[in-house]
């Protein structure tokens, strides 16, 4: 019986070792390719008697406002420079809520290629004259922040609110 116990113990150690090795190799690959990690969370903005609060959600009703928060963490050992954080405005009826980008100094894009500081403007010809008009925020498809340098072990958070278009919430 002692032998069988030893075998079982050995097997357990083997499983733990294998698991550790796998985890290590995964962590290594992660760290090697992505010194910076990104973690996205979605919250529903609930307005109550005590003001607004954020509730983690996987569901939304038309008219709801969702706040997306992204935590960028430098898990590596060296500084990450020129960090540019991009948060899309997802398809399916979501629209950027004006002035909700945090940090406020954000850029926006309609196509994911050309970015400009918010609020976006465009030049159109109307009645033969060139006029500059503000692009409706509902047309924004991407938000971007220039976070600069992220030291090892440090993290930066960006957030923005999106409204699910449709009937006003009842």
């Amino acid at each position: 019986m002692i032998t069988s116990t030893r075998v079982q113990t050995f097997k357990r150690i083997l499983v733990i070792l294998t698991a550790c090795l796998l985890q290590l190799s995964c962590a290594y690959v992660f760290a090697a390719d992505n010194g910076v990690t990104a973690e996205l969370h979605a919250f529903k903005v609930v307005t109550g008697a005590n003001g607004q609060k954020l509730v983690a959600t996987t569901e939304a009703l038309p008219g709801d406002t969702i706040e997306y928060q992204v935590i960028y963490r430098n898990a590596g050992n060296t500084a990450a420079k020129d960090v540019m954080a991009t948060l899309p405005v997802p398809e399916g009826g979501m629209a950027y809520v004006a002035d909700s980008a945090t940090p406020a100094k954000a850029q926006a894009s309609l196509d994911g290629k050309q970015y400009a500081p918010v609020p976006l403007t465009r030049t159109v010809v109307r009645e033969g004259k060139q006029v500059t008009e503000t692009v409706p925020v509902s047309e924004y498809r991407f938000l971007r922040w220039q976070l600069g340098e992220l030291a090892p072990g440090r993290s930066a958070t960006v957030s923005s609110r999106m409204r699910l278009e449709g009937a006003s919430k009842q």
């Binding site: 390719d33 992505n34 010194g35 910076v36 990690t37 990104a38 973690e39 996205l40 969370h41 979605a42 959600t57 996987t58 569901e59 939304a60 009703l61 038309p62 008219g63 969702i66 997306y68 992204v70 960028y72 590596g76 060296t78 500084a79 990450a80 420079k81 020129d82 960090v83 540019m84 954080a85 991009t86 948060l87 899309p88 997802p90 398809e91 399916g92 009826g93 979501m94 976070l147 992220l150 960006v158 699910l164 278009e165 449709g166 009937a167 919430k169 009842q170």
Partner: protein, 445 residues
């Protein structure tokens, strides 16, 4: 090459569906997954460009109920009659939903038998007689037409109103509902007003009841028909049939004078005795009035009446017919006489066409008056009134002022004591104009 029409039909169908969705799809459909993923780019310590990608976050769009009911309308209805109200129910939610139809009514009276019926083509008429209580499943943005039919109770008073609140309530979320109010005002089933010549409030004879004076006078000659255009205006809500009649008595207590005929005809010229008029509409009928061939030229009041034998709704209109003498028979000549017993040239009695039965003894005198009247509608010219001294009399002249006289023109007469022609050359007589010649004779002693 043989063309296959199916692909064209498919393209068209797809186009229509796309338009339908674009026009109505306001909210993101329930069940839609909204997926988001953040990224970052940066430069690492080896100056290599790198990127980081976050986990994906999925948000599932939940169903929300929303419904609209098209606005209500106002209608007039009559007791025991039905009113039909068309409504369009639209699912403005983001998921398939079914809606319960409901109706409550309030006001001066209560509607009976309120029910909903399908009206697929939206023409405001129920498709069948099967009542429905729900809309059936409607996709987001989809609409359905229904009609609400209600019956006015027999007790409803004219002018009273009822508010019928039609509602649609989401089965998915009973808290989501919409309604619209239809207003019914009780109006008489039929209201008659006869007008002459045209329809409407400004027409001749507009307004209820009989007019004090003739609203239209038509001229005709004996034996010739004249025609009145009578508009039967039914301001009620329902169709009614009205019997047509004519009388010279505004209360229709007497028949027409002998020889007179009145024939009613419809717009197509067919002879009718009654006319059907829909609620809120008018019908024209023609009254052809014919005086008898021997009718005396005169103006006669004539009343027309339309009366429903079922509802007793009625109206009368006042007209008149002026009979004028026909061309060539315009002049009417009448002769009257009076006794002048003492031959002083002055009639002892009023002139009359009656026989003188006393006092006409030899030596007494008789005065005559001959009147010519133009009963035509045009002037007549070269009028000459002729008479002769009757047998057994001689022309009598008491004084110049009592000799042969005429009110118009020149007069000639025999010498006093002789017999012969007495003649007034009158000349032209205007319509309704008259000239009178007068003279005296003495009965031979």
């Amino acid at each position: 090459m043989k063309l296959n029409p199916v692909p064209h039909a498919l393209v068209l169908a797809i186009g229509l569906v796309a338009i339908g969705i674009d026009a109505h799809a306001a909210a993101t459909p329930a069940g839609t997954s909204i997926i988001n993923q953040a990224t970052a780019t940066y430069i690492d310590s080896t100056l290599a460009a790198r990127s980081a990608t976050s986990n994906t976050v999925t948000t599932i769009v939940q169903q929300v109920a929303s419904v609209t009911v098209s606005a209500g309308t106002a209608k007039a209805g009559s007791v025991n009659g039905q009113v039909v109200y068309a409504h369009t129910i639209t699912n403005n939610g983001n998921g398939a939903d079914n809606f319960t139809l409901g109706a409550t009514n309030s006001g001066a009276f209560t509607m009976a038998g309120v029910a909903f019926y399908a009206d697929a083509n939206g023409d405001g008429i129920a498709d069948n007689t099967t009542a429905i209580t729900t809309t059936g499943t409607l996709q987001p943005g989809q609409s359905v037409h229904v009609v609400a039919i209600a019956t006015l109770p027999a007790s409803a008073a004219n002018g009273a109103t009822n508010n019928l609140v039609v509602s649609a309530t989401s089965v998915f979320n009973a808290a989501s509902a919409a309604n619209a109010t239809d207003v019914t005002t009780v109006a008489p089933a039929s209201v008659m007003d006869i007008t002459v010549g045209s329809a409407g409030s400004g027409a001749l004879g507009a307004g209820a009841g009989v007019e004090a004076g003739a609203v239209q006078t038509k001229a005709t000659t004996p034996g010739t028909a004249t025609r009145f255009a009578l508009y039967l205006n039914n301001a009620g809500t329902g169709t009614d049939t009205f019997n047509l009649s004519a009388s010279t008595d505004q209360n229709f207590g007497s028949t027409l004078p002998e020889g007179w005929t009145v024939t009613f005809k419809d717009a197509g010229g067919a002879t009718i005795t009654s006319a059907s008029v829909a609620g809120g509409a008018n019908t024209v009928v023609y009254a052809e009035v014919t005086p008898p061939a021997g009718a005396t030229p005169a103006t006669m009041d004539l009343y027309f009446r339309a009366q429903s034998p079922t509802t007793n709704v009625t109206d009368r209109v006042h007209t008149a017919v002026t009979v004028t003498a026909p061309v060539g028979a315009e002049l009417k000549v009448s002769k009257t006489q009076a006794l002048d017993a003492n031959c002083d040239g002055v009639a002892d009695t009023a002139f009359s066409a009656d026989n003188i039965t006393a006092g006409a003894v030899p030596g007494a005198c008789i005065r005559y008056e001959i009147t010519a009247t133009n009963q035509g509608s045009n002037a007549v010219g070269a009028v000459v009134i002729n008479d002769v001294t009757p047998a057994n009399t001689t022309y009598h002249l008491y004084s110049l002022t009592t000799g042969a006289q005429t009110t118009q023109g020149l007069v000639i007469a025999p010498l006093p004591g002789l017999t012969g022609l007495v003649q007034a050359t009158v000349g032209t007589l205007l319509p309704n104009g008259a000239a009178k010649m007068s003279f005296g004779v003495r009965i031979n002693p």
